[in-house]
């Protein structure tokens, strides 16, 4: 387990000088414990303390960087609600060197098109895995060259033949590809190849025991830029292996498994393959190699990845868009509240009880309640007027009335001026909505 803030605090100089940007040493220690600060910002930390903290706070899973800004590993939890998952799974599309040149250029074209814009976010595929299946070292080198020329994305060069791998890697070393795979049979050659070119390397063995042995042997070559492959190629086995690897690395601090893990899909039917990929994205695979490169298949997988890797340490919020309760029409009353879910649902519940179809617009207040948001300047008339325009309420209702919470009656004048709506000050408590709604004509 990582050190707690108090344990780190004991090692700090306790000067409370604020030079690290936070007011006290304890605050700095807590930021260190949660990985939000770096020890380097403290100018007074002693060498002894630095050593103690560096080794104790070493991440349970090493961060491995390769290619075009791909970062894998560096995770701390088994469940995202415990803290968060940090580095979204790197998705790679598999390209075999046994494809013809025409097939290859078609595939590259398809990969290039894998960019999506959705709900204001941009999704893209991270890289291409060039797989040596032709048996011909020259072909592997050539295909790797073509792929590298055809895309800016991160590369994975996959061959168990050290000679072919070296031929493909050397011209592309500046792209810093991930290479593989080092097995019991070839690990010395391949790990040394990775070491010479300063690129990360996949260590592959059949099963966890064999993987442990091989990692220990490979580490003896004085190189540690590893990605693990436990060799399983069925979803059930892979799920089990991924879980064991993550759990041992984090819960037991089992150092040989303190590296990110790569998984390969095995299903040939694309829909099944995406299901399989979804399991790996959910369960700790740091990189997944996929066969399909069709947009329709990959969009849901990338959406899932995006959802899983959002930070759950955010207040509970509802979407700040216009909500309607019941069968709304052009005469429906229009309520304003905040997007804090406790606040929103108490309003929605009462509006529902009133049996009058109504619109409710939760203002984006970062998930804070009405009075909290008002206190922090997040429920200002300017912002509300803007949100009213943005939600298009003026086209949805005939009337020009907006109902605001009674506790913020003070904003009514300004809001009326800015929005052009008549501002009706509603009850202070949502429990008053029922009787209040009866007064609305």
């Amino acid at each position: 387990m990582a050190l707690t803030g108090l344990e780190i605090y004991k090692q700090l100089p306790k000067k409370n000088c604020g030079e690290c940007g936070v007011p006290t040493c304890l605050a700095f220690a807590m930021a260190l414990a949660s990985g939000k600060a770096s020890l380097d910002t403290c100018p007074y930390v002693t060498a002894a303390a630095r050593e103690a903290l560096d080794s104790a706070s070493a991440p349970p899973i090493k961060a491995i960087k390769f290619g075009n800004e791909s970062v894998i590993g560096d995770e701390n939890v088994l469940f995202r609600h415990d803290k968060t998952f940090y580095h979204p799974t790197t998705l790679l599309i598999r390209v075999s060197d046994s494809l013809s040149d025409d097939e290859l250029s078609l595939k590259l074209q398809e990969i290039k098109g894998l960019e999506f814009d959705r709900v204001g976010l941009h999704y893209s595929i991270d890289g291409v895995a060039v797989v040596h299946e032709s048996g011909d070292a020259a072909r592997f080198e050539k295909v790797a060259g073509i792929v590298a020329a055809g895309t800016e994305k991160s590369l994975l060069l996959l061959s168990s033949d050290p000679v072919a791998l070296k031929a493909a890697l050397v011209p592309l070393a500046s792209r810093k590809p991930l290479i593989g795979e080092a097995t019991e049979a070839n690990y010395e050659a391949i790990v040394n190849l990775a070491k010479e070119n300063s690129v990360p390397v996949i260590i592959k063995a059949e099963g966890l025991d064999a993987l442990n042995d091989l990692v220990v042997k490979a580490q003896a070559l004085d190189y540690k830029e590893f990605v693990l492959d436990p060799g399983s190629r069925t979803p059930v086995e892979t799920l089990a292996n991924l879980t064991h690897l993550r759990r041992l690395a984090i819960k037991k601090k089992f150092r040989p498994f303190g590296y990110p893990v790569i998984a390969y899909t095995s299903q040939t039917e694309p829909l099944d393959e995406i299901m399989e990929g979804s399991v790996y994205v959910s369960k700790y695979a740091s990189a997944v190699v996929l066969n399909t490169s069709t947009k329709a298949h990959l969009l849901p997988l990338m959406t899932l990845r995006q959802n899983l890797y959002t930070d759950p340490q955010k207040p509970i919020q509802v979407e700040p868009i216009l909500h309607s309760v019941g069968d709304v029409n052009e005469n429906s009353p229009f309520y304003i509240t905040t997007n804090f879910s406790l606040t929103y649902y108490s309003v929605e519940g009462e509006v529902e009880t009133s049996k009058i179809p109504s619109y409710i617009l939760p203002i984006d207040t970062d998930g804070t309640s009405v009075l909290t948001a008002y206190a922090a300047g997040k429920f200002e008339p300017e912002k509300i007027a803007e949100a009213m325009v943005a939600c298009g309420i003026a086209d949805k209702v005939k009337h020009r009335n907006v109902i605001i919470p009674g506790y913020v009656a003070v904003i009514s004048g300004k809001l009326a001026e800015l929005s052009g709506f008549k501002v009706i000050v509603g009850p202070r408590e949502s429990s008053g909505i029922l009787s209040f709604s009866k007064t609305l004509s």
Binding site: L6, Y9, N16, T24, A27, K314, T372, Y374, S435
Partner: protein, 518 residues
């Protein structure tokens, strides 16, 4: 006391030799030399402000070279604040607590340390808003507003000072120092410092450590050159009043972990020991002080402070402060009332009224807006109307107690300390004087620990001001505390929100935290 007696201001009777043609050093050099000898000041400088210097020649000669000199002492040296004909009045100091709602001033005899007089009244800033937020909103509209709101609190304090000196038959020129403790907003408004960014994310106060200023700059009725010291703040919502309270509780001087809670609107909490201190403000809201509750009021005559409900007949018996007909309910009454409503099955653990189970009783009834329980009928009450507690009131109290308990849990989480490791829970706030620990635990306001670990200290803010007034060491420790306390921002991360939601239940959704309630 543990800090020793070494006040921030002193008064010395000095007899100077009369200048002659052969002993012709200047007035100030003559006084300075004698002060240095008496004070054993060594290499500490002694300053004299121009305003005092201007009157020095006449003061010395009128007094026939026998004068009383008042000095302020701070780390960097001494400052002469007044020279007057020799007298033996003791020097006085003021301990001032600027609360958002009430202001309290103690007159302290700096020789004996005794509280010689005390006065309190409502903060006149109330006309600009009941809470700190609305006052900030008002104050930042323009320069005039800021000045107006500053004057309001200075006037409040001056009226209290005038009352005190009238009763004691002393002069305001006998008052030689003052220490002010207040929350961060109160401190900034008292000094006329722009409070705009206190309430805006990321919630940054202008300063935490406050320079000492001469009274004339603020206009306090005391020696114009005497220094007014403000307690340092920690962050926007943990201010000097809490630092003062922390000093009083002696939190930072032992190995035992102590929890200090100010049960008030801001709900500040401090946790720690000699090695570390963390603090947060959990915004409990004003319900324990009577705000936001239909018949809520401060703990004063006519306030219900104890409630007993017969769970069979739902008959009610009340204890009212000064045994008057009840007009409302104060914080301790509310806590009691919640526990009893729950005990009698009138509300469920979520605070919902159980109308159906009690359809036979007249006391429990539904109005168009809400459901309510009648505590006192109109004919028994002081206000000639039914005194009730509504479902909304109950929910408000649940939110307030939920916030405080969630704040405690969040701080404990933050430093990975188990609740059982807390050896003492110190409760401050006017409300704290009346709180029933058993009831508080029953509703989940306070953690379920042995009653003997709880302690009430009342207004710790003014007590802290007095401590610092009487001791250089205490003042230094106060300044050190301000730097040492670590503010935890509860709006960052999900911990507080999860804890808060879990605490919106009587006593809690996790009953294992409240073994005595099972």
């Amino acid at each position: 006391e543990r800090f020793g007696h070494h006040p921030l201001a002193t008064k010395l009777r000095i007899s100077l030799s009369v200048p002659t043609l052969t002993e012709n050093t200047s007035d100030w050099a003559r006084l300075n030399m004698e002060l240095r000898r008496v004070l054993k000041a060594e290499d500490k400088p002694i300053h004299i402000p121009l305003s005092v210097l201007k009157h020095l020649p006449e003061s010395l000669r009128k007094a026939n070279w026998d004068v009383s000199v008042t000095l302020t002492e701070i780390d960097s040296g001494f400052t002469v604040t007044r020279v007057e004909p020799g007298n033996d009045h003791p020097p006085y100091g003021l301990a001032i607590d600027i609360g958002t709602t009430t202001v309290v001033v103690y007159l302290i005899n700096l020789l004996t340390g005794e509280i010689e007089e005390q006065q309190g009244s409502y903060n006149k800033q109330a006309k600009y808003g009941d809470d700190v937020i609305s006052r900030i909103v008002y104050a930042v509209e323009n320069e005039e507003h800021l000045l107006g709101i500053q004057h309001a609190v200075v006037d409040t304090i001056n009226e209290l000072i005038d009352k005190i000196i009238a009763r004691k038959s002393i002069s305001n020129l006998d008052i030689s120092s003052a220490i002010v403790a207040g929350n961060t907003t109160m401190t900034q408004l008292f000094l006329g410092v722009d409070p705009r960014y206190i309430r805006l994310e990321p919630y940054i106060p202008t300063m935490t450590s406050v320079p000492s200023v001469p009274a004339r700059e603020i206009g306090l009725h005391m020696i114009p050159e005497a220094l007014v010291h403000c307690y340092p703040s920690v962050a926007s919502y943990v201010g000097g009043d809490i630092v003062a309270g922390t000093l009083v509780t002696d939190l930072a001087n032992g190995e035992d972990i102590i929890l200090f809670i100010d049960i008030g609107t801001n709900g500040e909490i401090v946790l720690g020991n000699q090695d570390w201190l963390v603090t947060c403000a959990c915004s409990a809201g004003p319900s324990f002080e009577g705000g936001g509750i239909t018949f809520g009021m401060r703990a004063m005559p006519g306030a219900i402070e104890r409630v007993i409900i017969d769970s069979e007949t739902l008959d009610v018996s009340l204890k009212v402060i000064n045994n008057l007909p009840p007009v409302g309910i104060c914080g301790s009454g509310l806590v009691d009332c919640m526990a009893k409503l729950l005990g009698a099955g009138i509300i469920d653990r979520a605070g919902n009224f159980q109308l159906a189970h009690h359809s036979g009783s007249e006391r429990i009834r539904a109005t168009p807006d809400d459901k309510e329980f009648v505590l006192a009928w109109a004919h028994q009450s002081g206000g000639k109307k039914d005194v009730v507690i509504t479902e909304n009131d109950v929910k408000n109290v649940i939110r307030a107690k939920g916030a405080i308990y969630a704040g405690i849990r969040s701080l404990l989480n933050m430093v990975a300390v188990d609740i059982e490791m807390i050896s003492r829970i110190v409760i401050a706030g006017g409300f704290g004087n009346y709180l029933n620990v058993h009831d508080s635990v029953q509703i989940g306001l306070l953690p379920d620990l042995d009653t003997d670990r709880f302690e009430f200290i009342g207004n710790s803010s003014v007590k802290g001001a007095r401590l610092a007034l009487l001791s250089q060491n205490a003042w230094r420790e106060a300044e050190e505390l301000g730097r040492k306390m670590t503010y935890v921002e509860l709006s960052v991360g999900a911990t507080f929100m999860d804890e808060y939601v879990s605490a919106l239940f009587l006593p809690h959704t996790d009953l294992s935290l409240f073994p005595s309630c099972q």
